[in-house]
Homo-oligomer: 147 residues x 3
Amino acid sequence: MNVVGLVSREKTVIRKLSIATGRQGLHEITPAVESVVRQEGVREGLCTIFVQHTSASLLVQENADPAVCYDLEQWLNRLVPEDVGLYTHGSEGPEDMPAHIKSTLTANSVCVPIIDGSLGLGKWQGIFLWEHRNHRDSRQIIVHIQA
Amino acid sequence: MNVVGLVSREKTVIRKLSIATGRQGLHEITPAVESVVRQEGVREGLCTIFVQHTSASLLVQENADPAVCYDLEQWLNRLVPEDVGLYTHGSEGPEDMPAHIKSTLTANSVCVPIIDGSLGLGKWQGIFLWEHRNHRDSRQIIVHIQA
Amino acid sequence: MNVVGLVSREKTVIRKLSIATGRQGLHEITPAVESVVRQEGVREGLCTIFVQHTSASLLVQENADPAVCYDLEQWLNRLVPEDVGLYTHGSEGPEDMPAHIKSTLTANSVCVPIIDGSLGLGKWQGIFLWEHRNHRDSRQIIVHIQA
Protein backbone atom coordinates (compact mmCIF):
# COMPACT_ATOMS: atom_id res chain seq x y z
CA MET A 1 0.00 0.00 0.00
CA ASN A 2 1.76 3.17 -1.16
CA VAL A 3 0.69 6.77 -1.64
CA VAL A 4 0.97 7.76 -5.27
CA GLY A 5 -0.20 11.29 -5.05
CA LEU A 6 -1.73 13.93 -2.88
CA VAL A 7 -2.18 16.97 -5.03
CA SER A 8 -4.07 20.22 -5.13
CA ARG A 9 -6.98 20.41 -7.54
CA GLU A 10 -6.85 22.54 -10.62
CA LYS A 11 -9.53 22.21 -13.22
CA THR A 12 -12.45 20.48 -14.90
CA VAL A 13 -12.20 19.45 -18.55
CA ILE A 14 -15.21 18.40 -20.62
CA ARG A 15 -14.72 17.22 -24.21
CA LYS A 16 -17.21 15.77 -26.63
CA LEU A 17 -15.72 13.22 -29.01
CA SER A 18 -17.39 11.68 -32.04
CA ILE A 19 -16.28 8.07 -32.51
CA ALA A 20 -16.71 6.40 -35.91
CA THR A 21 -18.16 2.92 -35.46
CA GLY A 22 -19.94 1.73 -38.62
CA ARG A 23 -20.34 -1.88 -37.58
CA GLN A 24 -21.29 -3.90 -34.53
CA GLY A 25 -18.29 -4.65 -32.33
CA LEU A 26 -15.71 -3.34 -29.90
CA HIS A 27 -13.87 -0.22 -31.01
CA GLU A 28 -10.87 0.76 -28.90
CA ILE A 29 -10.89 4.41 -27.80
CA THR A 30 -7.91 4.40 -25.43
CA PRO A 31 -5.71 6.58 -27.69
CA ALA A 32 -8.49 9.17 -28.11
CA VAL A 33 -9.07 9.43 -24.34
CA GLU A 34 -5.36 9.36 -23.50
CA SER A 35 -4.87 12.16 -26.01
CA VAL A 36 -7.27 14.42 -24.08
CA VAL A 37 -5.44 13.70 -20.81
CA ARG A 38 -2.07 14.58 -22.38
CA GLN A 39 -3.29 17.65 -24.24
CA GLU A 40 -4.69 19.04 -21.01
CA GLY A 41 -1.51 18.24 -19.12
CA VAL A 42 -3.42 16.65 -16.25
CA ARG A 43 -1.07 14.92 -13.78
CA GLU A 44 -3.49 13.45 -11.22
CA GLY A 45 -7.27 13.25 -11.30
CA LEU A 46 -10.25 11.23 -12.44
CA CYS A 47 -11.30 10.62 -16.03
CA THR A 48 -14.95 9.68 -16.61
CA ILE A 49 -16.12 8.58 -20.03
CA PHE A 50 -19.86 8.71 -20.75
CA VAL A 51 -21.67 7.49 -23.88
CA GLN A 52 -24.76 9.48 -24.94
CA HIS A 53 -26.53 6.46 -26.43
CA THR A 54 -28.41 3.41 -25.15
CA SER A 55 -27.66 1.02 -28.00
CA ALA A 56 -23.89 1.38 -27.56
CA SER A 57 -21.87 1.05 -24.36
CA LEU A 58 -18.43 1.27 -22.78
CA LEU A 59 -16.08 -1.39 -21.51
CA VAL A 60 -12.62 -1.68 -19.99
CA GLN A 61 -11.28 -4.97 -21.30
CA GLU A 62 -8.14 -6.76 -22.48
CA ASN A 63 -6.64 -5.21 -25.60
CA ALA A 64 -3.79 -7.68 -26.12
CA ASP A 65 -5.38 -10.71 -27.84
CA PRO A 66 -8.11 -9.77 -30.39
CA ALA A 67 -9.68 -13.19 -29.74
CA VAL A 68 -10.95 -11.86 -26.39
CA CYS A 69 -13.09 -9.20 -28.11
CA TYR A 70 -14.24 -11.73 -30.71
CA ASP A 71 -15.32 -14.23 -28.06
CA LEU A 72 -17.04 -11.53 -26.01
CA GLU A 73 -19.14 -10.49 -29.00
CA GLN A 74 -20.04 -14.06 -29.88
CA TRP A 75 -20.99 -14.88 -26.30
CA LEU A 76 -23.16 -11.77 -25.90
CA ASN A 77 -24.86 -12.39 -29.25
CA ARG A 78 -25.80 -15.88 -28.06
CA LEU A 79 -27.12 -14.53 -24.73
CA VAL A 80 -29.15 -11.76 -26.39
CA PRO A 81 -30.33 -13.06 -29.76
CA GLU A 82 -31.91 -11.00 -32.53
CA ASP A 83 -35.22 -12.83 -32.30
CA VAL A 84 -38.18 -10.56 -32.96
CA GLY A 85 -40.49 -13.03 -31.24
CA LEU A 86 -38.84 -12.20 -27.89
CA TYR A 87 -39.44 -8.43 -27.88
CA THR A 88 -42.33 -5.98 -28.30
CA HIS A 89 -40.08 -3.01 -29.17
CA GLY A 90 -39.35 -3.53 -32.85
CA SER A 91 -39.97 -0.18 -34.52
CA GLU A 92 -36.26 0.59 -34.89
CA GLY A 93 -35.27 -2.74 -36.42
CA PRO A 94 -34.62 -6.28 -35.12
CA GLU A 95 -31.20 -5.37 -33.69
CA ASP A 96 -32.39 -2.41 -31.60
CA MET A 97 -33.95 -4.15 -28.60
CA PRO A 98 -31.00 -6.61 -28.28
CA ALA A 99 -28.75 -3.52 -28.42
CA HIS A 100 -30.59 -1.96 -25.45
CA ILE A 101 -30.24 -5.17 -23.46
CA LYS A 102 -26.54 -5.46 -24.29
CA SER A 103 -25.92 -1.88 -23.19
CA THR A 104 -27.78 -2.65 -19.93
CA LEU A 105 -25.43 -5.56 -19.19
CA THR A 106 -22.30 -3.50 -19.86
CA ALA A 107 -21.51 0.10 -18.85
CA ASN A 108 -22.83 3.53 -19.75
CA SER A 109 -19.88 5.25 -18.06
CA VAL A 110 -16.41 4.20 -16.91
CA CYS A 111 -14.08 5.97 -14.48
CA VAL A 112 -10.30 5.71 -14.75
CA PRO A 113 -7.89 7.44 -12.33
CA ILE A 114 -5.18 9.60 -13.90
CA ILE A 115 -1.73 8.97 -12.40
CA ASP A 116 1.56 10.64 -13.37
CA GLY A 117 0.01 12.26 -16.41
CA SER A 118 -1.56 9.11 -17.91
CA LEU A 119 -4.64 6.92 -17.57
CA GLY A 120 -4.00 4.49 -14.71
CA LEU A 121 -4.93 1.43 -16.77
CA GLY A 122 -3.42 -1.98 -16.10
CA LYS A 123 -0.86 -3.39 -18.50
CA TRP A 124 -3.39 -5.25 -20.67
CA GLN A 125 -6.37 -2.90 -20.31
CA GLY A 126 -7.97 -0.78 -22.98
CA ILE A 127 -11.15 1.30 -23.09
CA PHE A 128 -13.67 0.23 -25.73
CA LEU A 129 -16.81 1.69 -27.22
CA TRP A 130 -19.08 -1.27 -27.87
CA GLU A 131 -21.32 -0.60 -30.86
CA HIS A 132 -24.34 -2.89 -30.63
CA ARG A 133 -25.93 -1.85 -33.94
CA ASN A 134 -24.91 -2.03 -37.56
CA HIS A 135 -25.08 0.87 -39.97
CA ARG A 136 -24.39 3.60 -37.43
CA ASP A 137 -21.81 6.10 -38.64
CA SER A 138 -20.67 7.40 -35.28
CA ARG A 139 -21.37 7.74 -31.56
CA GLN A 140 -20.93 10.66 -29.20
CA ILE A 141 -18.99 10.26 -25.99
CA ILE A 142 -18.12 12.80 -23.30
CA VAL A 143 -14.71 12.78 -21.64
CA HIS A 144 -14.88 14.47 -18.25
CA ILE A 145 -11.72 15.09 -16.23
CA GLN A 146 -11.46 16.46 -12.74
CA ALA A 147 -7.91 17.31 -11.80
CA MET B 1 -13.80 17.20 -31.15
CA ASN B 2 -14.55 20.45 -29.38
CA VAL B 3 -13.85 21.83 -25.94
CA VAL B 4 -17.08 22.40 -24.07
CA GLY B 5 -15.74 23.76 -20.87
CA LEU B 6 -12.66 24.43 -18.83
CA VAL B 7 -13.84 25.87 -15.56
CA SER B 8 -12.65 26.44 -12.06
CA ARG B 9 -14.08 24.16 -9.43
CA GLU B 10 -16.50 25.41 -6.87
CA LYS B 11 -18.24 22.94 -4.62
CA THR B 12 -19.37 19.49 -3.59
CA VAL B 13 -23.09 18.77 -3.19
CA ILE B 14 -24.44 15.66 -1.49
CA ARG B 15 -28.19 15.00 -1.36
CA LYS B 16 -30.08 12.00 -0.14
CA LEU B 17 -33.30 11.33 -2.04
CA SER B 18 -36.00 8.85 -1.13
CA ILE B 19 -37.58 7.35 -4.27
CA ALA B 20 -41.00 5.71 -4.03
CA THR B 21 -40.99 2.40 -5.91
CA GLY B 22 -43.69 0.04 -4.63
CA ARG B 23 -43.46 -2.49 -7.44
CA GLN B 24 -40.80 -4.27 -9.47
CA GLY B 25 -39.76 -2.30 -12.52
CA LEU B 26 -37.93 0.71 -13.92
CA HIS B 27 -38.76 4.03 -12.27
CA GLU B 28 -37.42 7.13 -14.03
CA ILE B 29 -35.56 9.51 -11.71
CA THR B 30 -34.17 11.96 -14.29
CA PRO B 31 -36.39 14.87 -13.13
CA ALA B 32 -35.41 14.36 -9.47
CA VAL B 33 -31.69 14.37 -10.30
CA GLU B 34 -31.94 17.23 -12.78
CA SER B 35 -33.78 19.21 -10.11
CA VAL B 36 -30.80 18.95 -7.74
CA VAL B 37 -28.43 20.13 -10.50
CA ARG B 38 -30.62 23.16 -11.23
CA GLN B 39 -31.30 24.05 -7.60
CA GLU B 40 -27.56 24.09 -6.92
CA GLY B 41 -26.90 26.16 -10.03
CA VAL B 42 -24.07 23.89 -11.14
CA ARG B 43 -22.83 24.78 -14.65
CA GLU B 44 -20.09 22.17 -15.23
CA GLY B 45 -19.17 19.14 -13.17
CA LEU B 46 -19.85 15.49 -12.53
CA CYS B 47 -23.04 14.02 -11.09
CA THR B 48 -22.75 10.59 -9.48
CA ILE B 49 -25.88 8.74 -8.38
CA PHE B 50 -25.47 5.90 -5.89
CA VAL B 51 -28.14 3.48 -4.64
CA GLN B 52 -27.82 2.31 -1.02
CA HIS B 53 -29.39 -1.09 -1.69
CA THR B 54 -28.38 -4.37 -3.30
CA SER B 55 -31.80 -5.53 -4.47
CA ALA B 56 -32.37 -2.39 -6.54
CA SER B 57 -30.02 -0.82 -9.09
CA LEU B 58 -29.47 2.09 -11.47
CA LEU B 59 -29.56 2.30 -15.24
CA VAL B 60 -29.19 4.88 -17.98
CA GLN B 61 -31.53 3.71 -20.72
CA GLU B 62 -33.94 4.90 -23.42
CA ASN B 63 -36.91 6.82 -22.03
CA ALA B 64 -38.77 7.37 -25.31
CA ASP B 65 -40.61 4.10 -25.99
CA PRO B 66 -41.99 2.41 -22.83
CA ALA B 67 -41.74 -0.92 -24.68
CA VAL B 68 -37.97 -0.81 -24.16
CA CYS B 69 -38.37 -0.87 -20.37
CA TYR B 70 -41.03 -3.55 -20.64
CA ASP B 71 -38.85 -5.80 -22.80
CA LEU B 72 -35.83 -5.23 -20.53
CA GLU B 73 -37.79 -6.41 -17.51
CA GLN B 74 -39.17 -9.45 -19.30
CA TRP B 75 -35.75 -10.42 -20.62
CA LEU B 76 -34.07 -10.08 -17.24
CA ASN B 77 -36.85 -12.03 -15.52
CA ARG B 78 -36.26 -14.88 -17.98
CA LEU B 79 -32.49 -14.79 -17.39
CA VAL B 80 -32.82 -14.70 -13.59
CA PRO B 81 -35.95 -16.68 -12.67
CA GLU B 82 -37.62 -16.79 -9.27
CA ASP B 83 -36.88 -20.46 -8.79
CA VAL B 84 -36.14 -21.34 -5.18
CA GLY B 85 -34.46 -24.56 -6.29
CA LEU B 86 -31.62 -22.51 -7.81
CA TYR B 87 -30.58 -20.60 -4.69
CA THR B 88 -29.60 -21.28 -1.08
CA HIS B 89 -30.35 -17.72 0.13
CA GLY B 90 -34.11 -17.76 0.65
CA SER B 91 -34.69 -16.19 4.05
CA GLU B 92 -35.91 -12.88 2.62
CA GLY B 93 -38.37 -14.38 0.15
CA PRO B 94 -38.17 -16.03 -3.30
CA GLU B 95 -37.60 -12.74 -5.11
CA ASP B 96 -34.62 -11.61 -3.01
CA MET B 97 -31.79 -13.70 -4.45
CA PRO B 98 -32.89 -12.99 -8.05
CA ALA B 99 -32.94 -9.30 -7.04
CA HIS B 100 -29.29 -9.49 -5.88
CA ILE B 101 -28.27 -11.14 -9.16
CA LYS B 102 -30.15 -8.53 -11.21
CA SER B 103 -28.47 -5.70 -9.32
CA THR B 104 -25.09 -7.38 -9.98
CA LEU B 105 -25.74 -7.38 -13.73
CA THR B 106 -26.78 -3.70 -13.78
CA ALA B 107 -25.23 -0.72 -11.95
CA ASN B 108 -24.90 0.37 -8.35
CA SER B 109 -23.76 3.86 -9.39
CA VAL B 110 -23.92 5.94 -12.56
CA CYS B 111 -21.88 9.04 -13.47
CA VAL B 112 -23.26 11.77 -15.74
CA PRO B 113 -21.29 14.89 -16.72
CA ILE B 114 -23.01 18.22 -16.14
CA ILE B 115 -22.73 20.57 -19.13
CA ASP B 116 -24.17 24.08 -19.45
CA GLY B 117 -26.18 23.69 -16.26
CA SER B 118 -27.87 20.40 -17.16
CA LEU B 119 -27.19 16.66 -17.12
CA GLY B 120 -25.28 15.83 -20.30
CA LEU B 121 -27.63 13.01 -21.28
CA GLY B 122 -28.23 12.02 -24.90
CA LYS B 123 -31.52 12.92 -26.55
CA TRP B 124 -33.25 9.64 -25.69
CA GLN B 125 -31.54 8.88 -22.38
CA GLY B 126 -33.10 8.80 -18.94
CA ILE B 127 -31.82 7.69 -15.53
CA PHE B 128 -33.80 4.88 -13.93
CA LEU B 129 -33.98 3.27 -10.52
CA TRP B 130 -34.61 -0.40 -11.16
CA GLU B 131 -36.61 -1.91 -8.32
CA HIS B 132 -36.09 -5.68 -8.34
CA ARG B 133 -38.46 -6.47 -5.47
CA ASN B 134 -42.18 -6.08 -4.91
CA HIS B 135 -43.70 -4.53 -1.81
CA ARG B 136 -40.90 -2.07 -1.12
CA ASP B 137 -42.18 1.40 -0.35
CA SER B 138 -39.07 3.36 -1.24
CA ARG B 139 -35.33 3.30 -1.90
CA GLN B 140 -32.59 5.68 -0.85
CA ILE B 141 -30.23 7.16 -3.40
CA ILE B 142 -27.39 9.65 -2.98
CA VAL B 143 -26.82 12.38 -5.55
CA HIS B 144 -23.21 13.57 -5.41
CA ILE B 145 -22.08 16.54 -7.50
CA GLN B 146 -18.58 17.88 -7.89
CA ALA B 147 -18.48 21.22 -9.66
CA MET C 1 -34.93 15.13 0.57
CA ASN C 2 -32.33 16.73 2.77
CA VAL C 3 -28.98 18.41 2.18
CA VAL C 4 -26.22 16.46 3.84
CA GLY C 5 -23.28 18.57 2.88
CA LEU C 6 -22.14 21.53 0.88
CA VAL C 7 -18.45 21.79 1.44
CA SER C 8 -15.36 23.31 -0.04
CA ARG C 9 -12.97 20.98 -1.82
CA GLU C 10 -9.62 20.12 -0.48
CA LYS C 11 -7.61 17.38 -2.10
CA THR C 12 -7.12 14.39 -4.37
CA VAL C 13 -5.89 11.12 -2.90
CA ILE C 14 -4.63 8.22 -5.02
CA ARG C 15 -3.62 4.94 -3.37
CA LYS C 16 -2.64 1.66 -4.93
CA LEU C 17 -3.65 -1.38 -2.90
CA SER C 18 -2.62 -4.97 -3.47
CA ILE C 19 -5.42 -7.37 -2.54
CA ALA C 20 -4.65 -11.01 -1.87
CA THR C 21 -7.16 -13.23 -3.64
CA GLY C 22 -5.73 -16.72 -4.28
CA ARG C 23 -8.99 -18.36 -5.29
CA GLN C 24 -12.05 -17.61 -7.40
CA GLY C 25 -14.73 -15.80 -5.45
CA LEU C 26 -15.87 -12.57 -3.79
CA HIS C 27 -13.33 -10.97 -1.45
CA GLU C 28 -14.63 -8.09 0.67
CA ILE C 29 -12.45 -4.98 0.51
CA THR C 30 -14.67 -2.55 2.45
CA PRO C 31 -12.31 -2.31 5.46
CA ALA C 32 -9.28 -1.62 3.21
CA VAL C 33 -11.10 1.18 1.36
CA GLU C 34 -12.68 2.62 4.52
CA SER C 35 -9.23 2.67 6.07
CA VAL C 36 -7.92 4.97 3.30
CA VAL C 37 -10.87 7.35 3.81
CA ARG C 38 -10.24 7.53 7.54
CA GLN C 39 -6.46 7.84 7.29
CA GLU C 40 -6.86 10.78 4.94
CA GLY C 41 -9.47 12.38 7.18
CA VAL C 42 -11.83 13.04 4.27
CA ARG C 43 -15.24 14.29 5.44
CA GLU C 44 -17.17 14.69 2.17
CA GLY C 45 -16.19 13.63 -1.33
CA LEU C 46 -16.25 10.81 -3.84
CA CYS C 47 -14.35 7.54 -3.59
CA THR C 48 -13.72 5.69 -6.85
CA ILE C 49 -12.26 2.19 -6.80
CA PHE C 50 -10.70 0.89 -10.02
CA VAL C 51 -9.33 -2.61 -10.70
CA GLN C 52 -6.33 -2.83 -13.04
CA HIS C 53 -7.28 -6.27 -14.39
CA THR C 54 -9.84 -7.69 -16.81
CA SER C 55 -10.24 -11.14 -15.28
CA ALA C 56 -11.28 -9.73 -11.91
CA SER C 57 -13.95 -7.12 -11.20
CA LEU C 58 -15.65 -5.02 -8.52
CA LEU C 59 -19.08 -5.24 -6.98
CA VAL C 60 -21.15 -3.52 -4.32
CA GLN C 61 -23.30 -6.27 -2.86
CA GLU C 62 -24.88 -7.55 0.36
CA ASN C 63 -22.30 -8.50 2.99
CA ALA C 64 -24.71 -9.81 5.64
CA ASP C 65 -25.60 -13.36 4.54
CA PRO C 66 -22.66 -15.27 2.97
CA ALA C 67 -25.21 -17.33 1.03
CA VAL C 68 -25.76 -14.32 -1.25
CA CYS C 69 -22.13 -14.38 -2.42
CA TYR C 70 -22.23 -18.17 -2.75
CA ASP C 71 -25.38 -18.07 -4.89
CA LEU C 72 -24.00 -15.23 -7.02
CA GLU C 73 -20.90 -17.26 -7.84
CA GLN C 74 -22.88 -20.38 -8.63
CA TRP C 75 -25.29 -18.50 -10.86
CA LEU C 76 -22.53 -16.72 -12.79
CA ASN C 77 -20.59 -19.96 -13.22
CA ARG C 78 -23.68 -21.53 -14.78
CA LEU C 79 -24.19 -18.54 -17.10
CA VAL C 80 -20.53 -18.45 -18.19
CA PRO C 81 -19.25 -22.03 -18.19
CA GLU C 82 -15.62 -23.13 -18.51
CA ASP C 83 -16.24 -24.90 -21.82
CA VAL C 84 -13.30 -24.61 -24.18
CA GLY C 85 -15.54 -25.45 -27.12
CA LEU C 86 -17.29 -22.08 -26.70
CA TYR C 87 -14.24 -19.82 -27.00
CA THR C 88 -11.31 -19.22 -29.36
CA HIS C 89 -9.15 -17.43 -26.72
CA GLY C 90 -7.62 -20.31 -24.77
CA SER C 91 -3.94 -19.52 -24.51
CA GLU C 92 -4.17 -18.46 -20.86
CA GLY C 93 -6.11 -21.48 -19.66
CA PRO C 94 -9.75 -22.64 -19.76
CA GLU C 95 -10.85 -20.22 -17.03
CA ASP C 96 -9.46 -17.06 -18.66
CA MET C 97 -12.09 -16.33 -21.32
CA PRO C 98 -14.97 -17.00 -18.87
CA ALA C 99 -13.18 -14.60 -16.49
CA HIS C 100 -13.16 -11.85 -19.14
CA ILE C 101 -16.88 -12.35 -19.77
CA LYS C 102 -17.66 -12.28 -16.05
CA SER C 103 -15.72 -9.05 -15.60
CA THR C 104 -17.67 -7.57 -18.54
CA LEU C 105 -20.98 -8.35 -16.83
CA THR C 106 -19.89 -6.80 -13.52
CA ALA C 107 -17.94 -3.58 -12.86
CA ASN C 108 -14.42 -2.37 -13.54
CA SER C 109 -14.89 0.64 -11.25
CA VAL C 110 -17.34 1.62 -8.50
CA CYS C 111 -18.05 5.08 -7.07
CA VAL C 112 -19.14 5.59 -3.46
CA PRO C 113 -19.89 9.02 -1.96
CA ILE C 114 -18.09 9.87 1.28
CA ILE C 115 -20.41 11.35 3.91
CA ASP C 116 -19.50 12.49 7.42
CA GLY C 117 -16.06 10.91 7.18
CA SER C 118 -17.18 7.43 6.04
CA LEU C 119 -18.18 5.59 2.89
CA GLY C 120 -21.89 6.29 2.30
CA LEU C 121 -22.79 2.61 1.94
CA GLY C 122 -26.21 1.27 2.84
CA LYS C 123 -26.64 -0.80 5.98
CA TRP C 124 -26.08 -4.14 4.25
CA GLN C 125 -23.68 -3.08 1.53
CA GLY C 126 -20.05 -4.08 1.15
CA ILE C 127 -17.49 -3.56 -1.62
CA PHE C 128 -16.09 -6.76 -3.10
CA LEU C 129 -13.21 -7.66 -5.41
CA TRP C 130 -14.47 -10.52 -7.51
CA GLU C 131 -11.61 -12.82 -8.48
CA HIS C 132 -12.65 -14.82 -11.55
CA ARG C 133 -9.49 -16.93 -11.78
CA ASN C 134 -7.83 -19.47 -9.56
CA HIS C 135 -4.15 -19.45 -8.63
CA ARG C 136 -3.74 -15.69 -8.70
CA ASP C 137 -1.85 -14.39 -5.69
CA SER C 138 -3.12 -10.83 -5.70
CA ARG C 139 -4.81 -8.04 -7.67
CA GLN C 140 -4.03 -4.35 -7.88
CA ILE C 141 -6.74 -1.77 -7.22
CA ILE C 142 -6.58 2.02 -7.20
CA VAL C 143 -8.51 4.00 -4.60
CA HIS C 144 -9.11 7.54 -5.85
CA ILE C 145 -10.70 10.13 -3.58
CA GLN C 146 -11.74 13.64 -4.49
CA ALA C 147 -12.63 15.71 -1.47
